[in-house]
Symmetry: D2
């Protein structure tokens, strides 16, 4: 008799794992070993680390007959799990020419085989911990799939030859109506509810939160709108900036979003399709929190809190919007209807909320408890998803987080304001 | 006929201004020009900068016949007000041997004279902006009075001779009962209400906030309790630390709170009274957020949110406690009664809340708008007040804020926990 | 009729160029793109840069019909020739995954073809400037051949898997008699004489130099001898070190030569043959100038001046010794006869001479003048050659130079002393 | 009967010691505690360290009844003598507000008393080691007297108020004839001969050195001449610079000598007399080696070797010139006669010679052996003396040395060239 769940688990596993390797199509093994700064790991390292995750947290503890591929990989491909042991230093990941790409792929297939063999055992499915770790591992791999694209983009951008990851040109955006949408607020519920499917620990528990009335922009801020900020001296006016942001602007001589090309009067930008001409109607991206915040202040607006964003998203369309959007590797704008547009699949949207634990948050026991909680300091939450987020990895409760100076993700913004009585 | 308000304003002005100079008693002019790191400004600079504040924001705009003491001081003693113009670089404040201490005192007296003459004009009192800036200037000076003590302590601690700022020995603490106190929470009001007297803009507006039930420790964590954490390997166990905190522990080789002396098995510490023997019952202080957070995690507790702290403080005793406590220049513990003890006057208490704008927060217009808002990034809120806070500068709604790695303020902690049904 | 010189030039060109590619045998394209620190360029970059040299200095100026392979390579593969134009930043050479290794090899063959076609034209040979640049280019490529090996070794050493470049084990050294050999000195001639074949501009002009009597050790210092220094506390005794050296010892926590493995009581070391057991009779290598100097001081000896070294070398054996030694990729000691042993082919020998211009030294005109002269500051001269020096690239007048803290070259030492009357 | 030598020693001691204190006249205690960078120690520290030298090397070992002023000063005021024990970290000297200036002066007088009492004992004079250390200590103090002025100048220059150390204006220079003077060279003797009076160990032993014919400029390079270099793009032309120098030019954005004021088209400069208008005929000063070398290359000239300088100096005028020149605290040019002018008393003259040991150089035993030898690496020799050199501290054999990027000393240059047959 067919074990339906086993088949589904196994199928899903293969799909996600294949997607990682498909991302490397068209790349050389040298491309896959680039690391310009500590933050942008080599693709080969991502391929190996996601594999290490299954080997370490599923196969070694739960498959007694599993034989490790190479014990030295336990250190080489550990990212930050102190509970598992030592880690190869992050800034030196590009120094691992050995194992080469072929050997890392062999490592993947060795672990895949072990996983599939484990998943094919009906008994295994009765161990909820295995299935929980499988699901966590797949979501973990999807997070790295997005990083593979953003890291590759950063690394390629350091090459004066401006290599194109994919060929073709970017579609023009259809300009859409703007305006703001109002929300009443009150005592709302935030966070993932039981029964909503997989979520990371940081999305839970669902809890009550008080919201004052607010409004949210229907559309994402565009390149053209952001250029107006630049032309109004936005990068030269300290009164628009947080103090830490202003320091950064001066130290690193920021004058425009990352990847914009400064030489032209009407600038283009580096994309995963190589250098591309500018399009004023595309959502602006590769902004730091500091730039998003300064832009909002310039317009006498503000960034939404993450609770406002989630509440509005659930009110408006919920995860229906999340499901619909395909990744396009560059934000070109998609939605044109009424309501909040482009919540997902274009750019991550900076919120004004520092990344912190929800009330009554508990981390998991053991090394997997290091997944989220230990990063709850000095970072800001981003909501939605981007053009690099893999399919099936977006949802209303999702909390992404980065340091406020980070710019190499596909990050943009949607404006918010306090609601006035006229709004409601 | 006597102008009562004028007399009061003028008296208060003199009191606060005198207090700054009294803090320098017993110090040499060389002591007053120390700056070990960018953060710890020379006392002379504090004396001049607080004077610059009154000159820049009151005398120059509101006293037409005011003649500046030295126009070059507008740059030299501007801290961070980009709206006012250039600033002398912060790390180079100790290079200003000229003007010397005597000249800075002359500058103070010149500005004091101008202020008193302005305040003595009854007409002036009818200009609410003058009175608002006077009050802000005095509260600003009080903040610097605390910094004068913490900066001096840091600078003195760099001298192997361990100079004592004040003579005498520290009183032993009376051990007091511990335990936790429970709060029901619900939809509470947070922030300073109209009519509560002076508050900084970041304490307002008063707003609604939802709190789940929680408990707060009656007492502050003590040296003895913190030593148990150390002896349990607290500084060597990464699972207790935030990721950024663990990096800091390793980079700077932290093994104990700042100023503890590592050479002894039973360590003493450097204080404003010179090196002093340890007292296990004194509140622990000079902890970073990272250390406070790790200590709480070690005990399966957590830091309170700032809303929890303020709500409990108001419930319990409110500003009555704030008014009572005299500064002693070292936290020795004072209260022994029931309820929350030592809310004020001992150590600032780290909260789990990132420093952020309250809903509907608005900064002031112009350069004074730089006072608070531009620092709302990557810092954490501390509540209460410390043994170095000047009299009259504590209140339930007060929000202090520092970066999570900061240790040179008098900073400690009070534990919190989610309430269980048994607690309520 | 056969043009003998053309045939020879062309043959020599092919031999040297082939040797560079042969050095990459057994390596993956990922191996060829490693760069751990700015100093250790990727092998692929060396392959391209040496090609750029011929393209830039021979083909573009002297072969009218030459078509550049890719004009963008003029910037990518320029090392430091400001006279030629911009350079890709040195620390970012590893970010050039494009062009990939295959394309760089195609670039090499394109340029090789151009060169061979140029060399095959008899007319070309009459242009002495072409032949001079050909010879310079080949010697330049040989210098990079040595760097390819030392850079690869450094990069491989950063990989915990300790990859072996070549397989096999190292031959044991035959212990040889030690002792010192005396030289009378006087007014000697130093530097390359006309007619001695190719030399870099820094080896000329030959000039007079006064030498007091001195003695030189017959043998290189060995691992076993250097271990005695370590065991005597050599790395912990500041009185043995130059001040800058002692700072370096403390900052970088030096306790032994580079590549020695500290975990064992009797340490092995990382080599181009992977990790290898120690051999006390092999010459010690991978020493900085600071370590060589401290070792000599420990024995109440000193390093020779470069003039002493050259004079003794010419007296003893001259370039006969240089010609004989084959590269073995690790210094195992070779000579056993009388006289100065292992002058060439084992380790470069630090001298006490700062790298400076010889009297009446003149740099070449134009960009090629940047070859040597602009580095005459803060570096020290090394004499001899190493186990990584390609065949035909050693001679008595050769001046190698590195910063005193450099350790990644095959660098060791030979002791010297002032001669006493008993010596002479 | 009068002990003539005792009287002389004691008198000389008092004169040199008094001179250090006289240098502080007109300064506040805050002025005396400035330290902008690690290299520029507070004057108070210099006063204490020179005292520590006599206490440590004379009184403690040779005066049995000497009682130390404060044992903790042994660490506080040790500069770099590892043989004596620990040192207070150099960059933190400005953090020593205690002992204050008054206490340091008391320390000086305590030690002076001990020294005078020791020197007044006729027996003492029979111990040559005491007299040798006395003399060394006085010469050591004179070196620090020059540093007091150059360090103060650097520290004052960081203050936007541009404090003047001395009042008055600078005398204009009398333009003098230029031209070069020729020397035959040959086998010359260099270094201090026995009987020439005091010299540091690095000036000895006198030894033979071969010199090719050369010429030396009669005059120092002037401000006007150096401005021509700037106006010809000297700071923007990499071909004129050593590679390390060019890096420094770009990193630190050098565009003119230190202390020149860039705002004016015809720039003035900061001096010990405050800001002063430019004078084209004054010797240029505050040049790094890199700038001196680039200037010489621009004129197709070079810097002299130290042997050339010393040989020419002895030929020309010898120490007669050294004796004559009074310190004026700014180089204004003095000599107008024939021969080499301004060898002493204006600016130290960079030579092309790396600072190294003379043949057969031996350091002293014990901690005093650290005086010179351990700095023989990566520095260049300067010859002559400057306008800040104290009287009686100049001589033909004197070797000053600094890193090639150093600019805060009074450093300038005199050109040299190889002699042609026409010159001789």
């Amino acid at each position: 008799m067919l074990d339906r769940a086993a088949v589904d688990g196994s199928l899903r596993f293969r799909q996600v794992r294949d997607y990682s390797e498909r991302l490397c199509e068209g790349l050389t093994s040298e491309d896959c070993n680039l690391q310009a700064v500590a933050e942008t790991s080599p693709l080969k390292w991502h391929l190996a680390h996601t594999t290490w995750f299954f080997e370490t947290f599923v196969l070694r503890p739960f498959k007694p007959d599993y034989r490790g591929f190479d014990d030295r990989f336990q250190v080489l491909f550990n990212s930050y799990y102190n509970g598992v042991g030592q880690q190869h230093p992050r800034p030196q990941r590009h120094l691992l020419s050995r194992p080469d790409l072929a050997e890392v792929l062999a490592y993947r297939h060795h672990v895949d085989q072990g996983m599939v063999s484990l998943l094919d055992q009906p008994a295994a499915l009765k161990q909820p911990e295995i299935m929980a770790r499988l699901t966590l591992g797949l979501n973990h791999e999807q997070q790295h799939q997005e990083l593979m694209l953003t890291d590759l983009k950063y690394n390629f951008a350091c090459n004066p030859l401006a290599p194109a990851y994919r060929s073709g040109s970017l579609p023009p955006a259809r300009p859409a109506e703007g305006g703001f949408q109002s929300y009443q607020g009150g005592l709302v519920e935030i966070g993932q509810a039981r029964g909503e499917g997989f979520g990371f620990d940081n999305e839970r528990p669902r809890h009550r939160h008080w919201l004052e009335p607010f409004t949210l922009a229907r559309a994402l801020v565009t390149n053209g709108e952001f250029r107006a900020f630049i032309e109004d001296g936005g990068y030269r006016r300290p009164e628009l900036w947080l103090s830490d942001g202003w320091s950064r602007v001066q130290q690193e001589d920021w004058r425009h979003p990352l990847y914009w090309q400064p030489d032209d009067t009407h600038p283009g930008q580096f994309t995963l399709y190589g250098n591309q001409p500018p399009d004023d109607h595309h959502p602006v991206c590769h902004l730091s929190y500091f730039e998003a915040d300064a832009y909002a202040r310039w317009l006498d607006a503000r960034l939404p809190s993450e609770a406002e964003w989630e509440h509005a998203c659930r009110q408006d369309q919920g995860d229906a919007a999340a499901a619909r959007t395909p990744p396009a590797l560059h934000p070109t704008g998609a939605d044109t209807g009424a309501g909040l547009r482009d919540l997902f699949g274009q750019v991550w949207q900076w919120t004004a909320s520092a990344y912190a634990a929800y009330p009554a948050y508990r981390t998991a026991r053991g090394a997997l408890g290091e997944y989220n909680g230990k990063f709850m300091c000095s970072q800001f939450v981003l909501r939605g998803s981007s053009c690099a987020t893999p399919p099936g990895h977006s949802r209303a409760s999702y909390r992404n987080f980065f340091y406020p100076e980070s710019r190499w993700q596909f990050t943009g913004l949607r404006l918010a304001r306090d609601a006035t009585s006229a709004d409601l």
